[in-house]
């Protein structure tokens, strides 16, 4: 999470959910992962990408599906639980309103 994506009240800005150019938003599924294992994965990913791990925003898959998007497994060597949120429209305003809805449903957890 980029620092400016977290509001002062601990909620997440929609900016965090805007997809990249390839319209595949990177996420990590929590399947069979303990709380500590989730943070461990985050730490590994942050180290590889040379960024500081600030926290995570959790969104349930059913919430993703409820707004017309879907989740697709895309395992990586360093993160077997890596997945993409796909199904994004190409135009920016439509992406923004979906990102705003995901932000409403997201729960932010700062790194312990």
């Amino acid at each position: 999470m980029f620092q400016n994506w977290i509001r002062s009240d601990g909620t997440v800005r929609p900016d965090a959910f805007i997809p990249p150019k390839d319209l595949q938003l990177s996420t990590t599924r929590h399947i069979r992962l303990s709380e500590s294992a989730i943070w461990e994965v985050g730490g590994v990913v942050a180290a590889i990408r040379s960024v500081r791990l600030l926290g995570r925003a959790d969104v349930a898959v059913q919430n993703v599906i409820s707004i017309g998007l879907s989740a697709q497994a895309a395992p990586l060597p360093e993160n077997p639980n890596h997945a993409h949120v796909i199904g994004w429209p190409a135009n920016k305003p439509s992406q923004k309103i979906l990102a705003q809805q995901l932000a409403v449903m997201a729960a932010y957890h700062p790194k312990p």
């Binding site: 980029f2 620092q3 400016n4 994506w5 509001r7 909620t11 800005r13 929609p14 900016d15 805007i18 997809p19 990249p20 150019k21 990177s26 990913v45 942050a46 990408r49 040379s50 960024v51 135009n91 920016k92 305003p93 439509s94 923004k96 309103i97 990102a99 705003q100 809805q101 932000a103 409403v104």
Partner: protein, 160 residues
């Protein structure tokens, strides 16, 4: 830091008649003078400008999010500055952010279900989305130096 922003005014000038430039300059001077008073929110406006500069510093290189994000470019910062400057004095000032495609975002947030986000792109397009209770609004407006009425209306409704 503000000086860096001011330098764009020189770069951006060009085109139009001398009279048009004179009127534009005087209008901007008057707006700045008004904004310079405590009554019309000098502090908040300059806080937003500081945030804009901070975003440029943090997000000015490719991959700033660790996932190949586009850099926030000087032109986008200038577009966002012009957009902020165009708001009527005393209007609520947004918080500033950035998106992975390099757009700068300005957000007016009251609660999760009462919020407006405007993405400012380097080509002076304003992509907006708003949640007002159960209602969703989104679209694109071109920026021609004035804040589009549709966006002003959404911000007013979020704040009311």
């Amino acid at each position: 830091m503000i000086l860096e922003l001011s330098s764009y005014a020189v770069i951006s000038s060009g085109g139009g008649s001398d009279a048009a430039h004179f009127v534009d300059r005087k209008a901007r001077e008057a707006k700045h003078a008004l904004r310079g008073t405590h009554t019309f929110g000098r502090h908040a406006f300059y806080e937003a400008l500081k945030d804009l500069v901070s975003i440029k510093e943090q997000c000015g290189v490719a991959g700033w999010d660790g996932y190949g994000a586009e850099p926030v470019r000087d032109k986008t910062v200038w577009s966002a500055y012009r957009f902020l400057e165009a708001f009527p004095p005393g209007f609520p000032i947004p918080t500033v952010g950035a998106e992975p495609d390099g757009d700068i975002t300005l957000e007016w947030y009251r609660s999760l279900h009462r919020t407006v986000s405007v993405s400012v792109s380097p080509d002076y397009n304003l992509h907006y989305s708003a949640l007002l209770g159960p209602n969703k609004h989104y679209g694109t407006e071109a920026f021609f130096g004035e804040v589009p009425a549709s966006i002003l209306d959404l911000i007013r409704r979020v704040q009311s």
